[in-house]
Symmetry: C2
Amino acid sequence: MTSLPRELRQLIESGPFAFVSTINADGSPQVSVVWIGLDGDEIVSGHMGHYVKLRNIERDPRVVISFLGGDVPGSFLEPYAVLHTRATVEASNDAWHLLNRLTKVYLGPDNDFPAPEGPGYIVHYRVERVGGVGPWAPAAHR
Amino acid sequence: MTSLPRELRQLIESGPFAFVSTINADGSPQVSVVWIGLDGDEIVSGHMGHYVKLRNIERDPRVVISFLGGDVPGSFLEPYAVLHTRATVEASNDAWHLLNRLTKVYLGPDNDFPAPEGPGYIVHYRVERVGGVGPWAPAAHR
């Protein structure tokens, strides 16, 4: 997939809490919530530690990111996005700066990321397939 | 785990949109959003078709259910729950009735489930471990 649907880009840039599903070493699912942003047509997240989800991604890059799309009164299921991605982890001195940028989206423009600056990790997610319920998802994919 | 924390039960009964993470046959993650309810200390969901997630659960019962816990202004990450469960699928004539009960939670007390009555499936999720961020989750699990 080379470009994300406009409505999906807008939703990502609005700061949804994103569930990241990875696979543990024993094959079981692992889920945590992260902040996400856009880097061109890829999704990015920043991390100040080498957490379980990053180790999982390094072992198996197949990652699903899913998030709600805002309340639509009377809708049967809230709009939501399920993004099937290939993810890569890189050690980066820019992780804090990414997190600081996302802090202004998720917590408000006057906020700074509260952790001290330092080296971290950035995950890039290349979106291979878009599903869910909403203007970004064909109904057949539900 | 024999009993769910009170705050978690209240959250489930408030009708959160729940992300269900299962494992596909090829080992990749699969995610969809479902309605959930309580049946004693287990979580339940109802389904009118034998969807991919149900086939995945029959192959590998390790399922993670995750959902947001409501907005807390200024919180760094919204409260959220990550429930590691063992799930079982059963064909059931009560699936529609479960979905009809949940319709009143998720869409409002005057609503009925819009699909015609008929046989379906109920998934029971036995919660083995509770994580996330909130009163139900020890900080060390983050």
